[in-house]
Amino acid sequence: MYQYDQYDQQMVDTRVEEFRDQVKRRLAGEITEDQFKPLRLMNGLYLQLHAYMLRVAIPYGTLNGKQMRMLAHIARKYDRDYGHFTTRQNIQYNWIKLEDAPDLLAELASVEMHAIQTSGNCIRNISSDQFAGAAADEIADPRPWAEILRQWSSFHPEFSYLPRKFKIAVIASDTDRAAMKLHDIGIQLVHNDAGELGAKFFVGGGMGRTPMIAPEIRDFVPADELISYAEACLRVYNRYGRRDNKYKARIKILVHELGKDEYTRQVEEEFAHMKELGLNPPVEELARITEYFADPAFDTQASDELDLSDPDFAVWVDQNTDMHKQSGYAIATISLKPRGGIPGDASSAQIDLMADLAEQYSFDELRVTHSQNIVLPHVKKSDLYALWQKLDEAGLAPANLDLITDSIACPGLDYCSLANARSIPLAQKISEKFAEQGRQKELGELKLKISGCINACGHHHAGHIGILGVDRKGTENYQLLLGGSAAEDTSLAKITGPGFTEDGVIEAIETVTDLYLQEKQGDERFIDTYRRVGMEKFKEAIYG
């Protein structure tokens, strides 16, 4: 994986000193909270209901054991002994003191980590496929491209006060594990007819109040024009994105209002001029970065044999491991969704253990997924049993990847100052309700996503089943949505009808899942059946 050189290190070190200075001025009253806000936000520091929340960047979700251990250390030293892995492939701490933040960032910088641009109206942490470099179906590793974009977007002087936040994802296979088309810019690496690697651009996707699927605006941008093309996309947005209404300020609204063709025309016009400005790093820079992502030293003799005589292990292997590009290896996902637990939370002890296991079994590499789980990307199959035993002892072996209890949930009203309803307790109740292995297994792949308000941090629009918490005359109320998908078959979920109480929505989920089992044909997943049968039938079942 990527390692900082002297320049990268100097940039994050300087940022720590800059922020230390800004915090000092704030604590001394030299700047107002209003003036300080954009500064702290660009360092990932939010003022939440009870305390400051700090979001640490994990670029494209990749980190090593040492970095993971630092995350545990921070949880212990500065927080309440746990951290929360997020849908942005980052980690958040909920109980940070402002005066501690500079020291905390200095500790992060010591392991090549930072919180730069994890919030604010700027280009955020670049996300990617959590199976990058391991997936059997990718045409290249998307992370070198994501790293090029990370560096370009860091401290970008023109694009740090955009109309609204800006999220970019890069993937490199037809299977979309990163919700690519639900980003402001989604990039899929593709080959052109000449066999060269380039970027297909999708612009204007997003969730939030007005969910949109990003349309493709260009089928191929060559590697040595990537940055100028991205600059062109951003410049049109920075100049013409709406600034009169925060809720209409994302690029999806601009693309929608202008129309894809007109937006594309403006981007191309800007690009024609920008590509002459010398903004693109030479291909040698991509090559330099790509070397860091070279395959680890796989044992090419490793066997595909697996002893599945332990039934619990067999269930976990079946559910939580994926095919690796190297025979004899598997991709293992550690579910952070234990029965009744808080999705994405991990204690410092668990984080430490995952760091150890990565070093021992996965060439010192971990990934954070947008579904709030952790991946060990390169595990030898012969090590899987030992790995599983250690995970199981630490409560880290729920065998529920992509099942209904592997839900995404935002922090909700328990932490967030924007939320209308609690998400976590609902996720916990649903988890309890469906946790019996047989029951959730029978339901198969079922992506359940819960947001505590219309800002959709819990991705409810993209859930096979989505839940949206709203405030109805002072009480928490939950709307049910069906039919969304964040995968390559991207679709937006639709609201079934009137909302429910917390218990009511759980009942409704039981109703729709029962109906699915009844209607299911062949190997259909919930989403397939829903798409074939249609909303009406589900509505009837729920509302009678």
């Binding site: 300087t14 003036q35 560096q151 002087p157 023109e158 740090s160 006060y161 920075n238």
Partner: protein, 141 residues
Amino acid sequence: MVEAIRFRDDEPHEEPAGSLDSFLDQSNATAVRIEAGEDVRQLLPYLERLALIEVDFPAFGDGRGYSAAQILREQGYTGELRASGDVLVDQLAYMRRCGFDSFAPEKPIDPEVMERSLGRYENIYQGTTDQRSPIWKLRHG
């Protein structure tokens, strides 16, 4: 309004900057003021003549002026480029990178904090019109 902070060696330009509309109506004006949201490209035919372009920031979070400045410099404008309005000390470094060389902030700026802030980053990651060498260039010569 406090006195403009300038990063230029020439004398301050005398002519006050008028609105874009009034500028476009005159044949000999040499200074103009652009409001956020006005299309700076309307000035491109007149860059030779212009000696002062003032770009207004109605709020520090409104970043349109950064693109306006970049466009002017990309097109070869060499006159004074002034940021006015809600210009805060922590935004100056990025404004300098986008080509602003003069500032007329609404509220006074502490010169010490400004100096620290402008001198802080030795390197940069991306090319802009300030022509500094991005890190990738330092890496590859």
